[in-house]
């Protein structure tokens, strides 16, 4: 068994530098690597390119890095819910590459799977297709999208074992397994770290081979963005 455990967050982040490309898991604030983001937001690294479906909110998630202007470029699919983000984008301080959510997911998976490019119908005929190769399949026009990879991928799982195997919970899974595949160094943080052998090998979502470092996060706030409830009758 190859042991992936690192003792602390500092060792987990060893080697991160300015101007690197990071992938950051999560959808909205659900399933984001809270501990890694927090630690990164305290480092003096700037000029980052971040690949993440969302950009957090003003005071949580990637919003923390945006506030300190650590991010030079965002590659995302949806970036509402963040006023500072909008300000930086409209003023031109922040470079933004918006891509369809499914293409983002598939491009991360492709990056991890050694598929350099693939055709998808998403975005054909729109701004997203500008400069991209177009080809017809089954009577429908498709565009060629390329793989995405990153120097570091930061992901968050529910449980993990010392071999780096990960299990996610609910919709907190989202982009995490795909980004785990695509990071040159993938750093996984988990709510509960167990010994190898304790997880059912049939029930692992991300095989440990995709994870280079794993640690148990100190605490998880798990903030809810849109609390919606119904009342009992």
């Amino acid at each position: 068994m190859i042991n992936k455990v690192v003792d602390n967050i500092e060792k987990a982040l060893d080697g991160v530098e300015g101007n690197m490309t990071f992938m950051v898991g999560g959808f909205g604030l659900s399933g984001i690597p809270e501990n890694a983001i927090d630690a990164l937001s305290k480092k003096d690294i700037f000029g980052l390119t971040c690949i993440s479906n969302n950009a957090g909110v003003d005071d949580f998630g990637l919003g923390l890095l945006l506030k300190r202007k650590q991010i030079k470029k965002m590659i995302s699919s949806y970036v509402g819910e963040n006023a500072e983000f909008e300000r930086q984008m409209l003023s031109g301080e922040l470079e933004v590459n918006l891509i369809p959510q499914g293409s983002l997911a598939e491009r991360c998976r492709a990056g991890g799977a050694g598929i350099p490019a693939f055709f998808t119908p998403a975005g054909y005929g729109t701004e997203v297709a500008e400069g991209k190769e177009v080809r017809e399949y089954n009577g429908k026009l498709h565009i060629l999208e390329s793989a995405l990879t990153a120097d570091f991928a930061f992901v968050k799982a529910w449980k993990g074992d010392t071999a780096g195997n990960l299990i996610f919970k609910g919709t907190a899974r989202n982009f995490n397994p795909l980004m785990a595949m695509a990071g040159k160094i993938t750093v996984a943080e988990v709510e509960e770290l167990v010994e190898a052998g304790e997880l059912d090998p049939n029930q692992i979502h991300t095989p440990g081979i995709f994870v280079q470092r794993i640690f148990q996060g100190e605490k998880y706030e798990k903030r809810i963005e849109q609390r919606t409830v119904r009342t009992k009758e």
Partner: protein, 218 residues
């Protein structure tokens, strides 16, 4: 009288067939789930990674690890399943999700839709909308007939950056049900008490009007 948002949702619910998988967008589309007729089995997909979505949780039972694509806390029903974003869009792109209902800022007579960007003003991103409109065979738009300035959102040609081309099949607004045909918008139904003339006056695109146009039934 023009429909309210709930009535638009209610009318769209009639379009959903038994034993289909449906993706509902943010806004009016989300309300559609409240009006599924009895005996019609539908499973709702949310593109962030859940199939078999149920109603909102009871107060105190919210789970931050269980949200929909609008980031709202949700529940799951019996037979639900959770998955990653690549699998989710495999369902969408692969046409396993059969119906998509989404909002729009503009729809054009050839079925183009614009709903993700107002240059210089608003850029939230397309999220999953571009994948959804490029994929499902049955795309229904739920929206108000006109914008806040009273301008028609039913156009000959979209003025805003588009989300997808030739994809919308039907539009349900507060005034009318429109089908998009090879020759453009065809008026199928009127909101109760709304006249064909009223609809024409609120519509920038040409309308194909054949015979008597019935009122929507609820």
């Amino acid at each position: 009288m023009a429909l309210d948002k709930n009535q638009i949702a209610q009318r769209i619910a009639q379009e959903l067939k038994h034993n289909t998988y449906v993706n509902l967008g943010i806004g009016i589309p989300t309300l559609v789930a409240n009006y599924i007729p009895r005996g019609i089995d539908i499973e709702f997909q949310s593109e962030n990674g859940v199939l078999g979505m149920g109603p909102f949780p009871f107060e105190g039972e919210e789970d931050p690890d269980l949200i929909n694509a609008g980031k709202q806390t949700i529940t799951t029903l019996s037979g639900a399943v959770l998955f990653d974003s690549a699998t989710s869009f495999a369902m969408i792109r692969g046409k396993h999700v059969q119906i998509t209902v989404l909002g729009a800022m503009e729809v054009s007579e050839n079925g183009d839709i614009a709903n993700w960007k107002i240059p210089g003003k608003m850029v939230k991103g397309m999220g999953g909308a571009m994948d959804l409109v490029a994929s499902a065979d049955n795309i229904i738009v739920a929206m108000m007939h006109t914008n806040r300035q009273g301008e028609s959102k039913i156009l000959k040609k979209c003025t805003l950056p588009i989300t997808g081309v030739n994809c919308v099949k039907k539009v349900v607004t507060n005034l009318a049900v429109l089908e998009i045909t090879q020759n453009g918008f065809k008026l199928l139904e009127r909101a109760p008490g709304v006249s064909v003339e009223d609809i024409k006056n609120s519509t920038a695109a040409d309308l194909i009007i054949e015979g008597e146009i019935p009122e929507m039934k609820f």
